[in-house]
Amino acid sequence: MVTNFLLRALDRRTAIVLIAILGVGILLPVLNLATDPSSPFHVPTYVLTLLGKYLTYALLALAVDLVWGFCGILSLGHAAFFALGGYAMGMYLMRQIGDRGTYGNPLLPDFMVFLNWKELPWFWTGFDHFWFAAILVLLVPGILAFVFGWFAFRSRVTGVYLSIITQAMTYALLLAFFRNDMGFGGNNGLTDFKEILGFDIQADTTRGALFFASALALAAGFWICRAVIASKFGKVLVAVRDAESRTRFIGYRVEGYKLLVWTLSAMMAGVAGALYVPQIGIINPGEFAPANSIEAVIWVAVGGRGTLIGPIVGALLVSFGKTWFTSGMLAEYWLFVLGGLFVLVTLFLPKGVVGTFLARDRKKPAEKPIEDVVAPGAVGQAAE
């Protein structure tokens, strides 16, 4: 059933995107490892880690787009799921340090040692095993999303209200993880990782593998999203986005649909976070900041919500802009640029870069089904 579900979505276009993502995922690490630094084809490690980070951002953007672009749920709290996935991975990486921490304590991570913790809190058990952490990477964001969504969607909290309480959720988590008493390392978070699955985390080969894993996750995410959107389920999502009460009146229990896609999206964000952490080398409560969630939404808006390519393009473009602008003397202007980008995109490119691109390709009234593009006006309606 699942195979069928996936294969059905594998049209030519999807296949090309998948091949492209995987191609980049293989090519860049190979160019990094196999070419000499002096070669014009050499990809420096710096670029590889940077792009690896972008890929995880792209996956997060895809997750945001799945709920916002296709179901009209504007989440201002997706960074929470991203960060929770990151923490699950970070906890595994912390356990891998073993007795190589600064205090050489075989049992406790450094931050617990100098705060005089005597034993490992119960919720750290199991993180010695990769499989356990991998499951929790999916489960923790998934369960949080499920519980949160179960309450929120059943009570029909929608639109702006939902956005604001998702923000409250991530803000509450931010404050909670800041607390040193919680046992997650407080403001410093988790850092000083050494190994993942026995491989040196700083080795170029490991970086290459992580880069490929990120590309693979992005491709898988893209494929799953594509399959979801192409199914009847996906059509119901768009129906919910466009006219929620109409969908109810033809007999769909909307909360179930929202809950399922919301949970799926949270799990995707969790995976993104889990891949982000080993490449960045640190996870701390700052990742829960409401501003991070809003930035993820911006990626989607810039790229084009309601298209699956859009969020990927948006995440890459904005992140690249950020990297470029925060170097050198332009630094002071970065916030002007980012702020201006938000304003201009909402005003002049409501469909985002990719959305506008696609709309230009199809000027005349559509003669064939269009699943990818949001009709003008539809989104506004979905908002309330």
Binding site: K235, A243, E367, Q381
Partner: protein, 258 residues
């Protein structure tokens, strides 16, 4: 379930398709419905008229589960208490609703609109792995034919004209295969020709289903030629044929008296 009142209600509601008794709804002190009672028989078509604020839309909201009444009974098909169900459950029971302003899924194609409304398993996982069967395709085509939109099947619903959207919405209702249709001002904003055709379409539908039509347009109501209920300030003012109702002095006073 075994309170003392319910059996009585059941007894009265037993033979009807839709049974409303003493339904009251208020919003912040404003009483939208006050003790409204209404019975629709199986296979009946009923027109509901009344001035603005008479409570027509609120009545529809109560029946379809959007609004919970403060007091009163609402039963469907004899013994199903609608006040305990949500919109989706009520829709699955076989009550379809058409809004005053045509509401279709604008970014879906005409085909998908009908396909979504098609009776079937509406659980999320079922739709996720759903594969459209030949029977379903045939059924959609049949409905497209009925609502005269076969040639526009691949159009986005957003690009349809107002009248076409009305029809598409009716088509979606048909696809739901309801036992009872609630239709809110189906002729609003239509040309005369479209209005007449809509009346014919509704009559066709009414052959197999019960239909409640809320309408302002008296010509249209006359075209339908069915029993009429006049609402005023949240309760029934008069009931009977259109001619009888319009002869009712209370109705005349409400409509012309001020």
């Amino acid at each position: 379930m075994t309170s003392t009142i319910e059996p009585v209600a059941h007894a009265k509601a037993k033979d009807s398709l839709l049974y409303l008794d003493g339904v009251s709804v208020s919003f912040d002190g404003f009483k939208a419905l006050r003790g409204l009672s209404l019975v629709i028989e199986p296979g009946e078509m009923r027109a509901i008229i009344g001035p603005n604020g008479a409570g027509k839309t609120t009545m529809m909201d109560v029946i379809t589960g959007k609004t919970k009444p403060d007091s009163g009974d609402v039963y469907f098909a004899g013994d199903t208490d609608l006040t305990r169900l949500d919109e989706a459950a009520i829709a699955s029971l076989g009550i379809g609703r058409k809004f005053q302003k045509p509401t279709v899924f604008e970014s879906h194609t005409v085909w998908d609109n009908i396909d979504l409304a098609l009776a079937g398993d509406r659980k999320p996982f079922a739709t996720l792995f759903h594969r459209t069967s030949q029977a379903e395709i045939a059924r959609v085509e049949e409905i497209l034919d009925t609502i005269r939109l076969t040639d526009k099947r691949d159009w986005l619903a957003a690009n349809l004209s107002h009248g076409q959207k009305q029809w598409l919405e009716i088509g979606m209702l048909l696809a739901q295969e309801p036992k009872l249709l609630l239709v809110d001002e189906p002729a609003a904003g239509m040309t005369d020709a479209e209005t007449a055709e809509t009346a014919i379409l509704l009559q066709e539908i009414a052959r197999t289903k019960s239909v409640v039509v809320v309408e302002h347009d008296m010509t249209f109501v006359r075209d339908l030629g069915v029993k009429v209920t006049v609402l005023h300030e949240g309760s029934v003012l008069s009931e009977g044929s259109l001619d009888a109702a319009s002869a009712d002095p209370k109705v005349i006073e409400v409509y012309l008296g001020r």
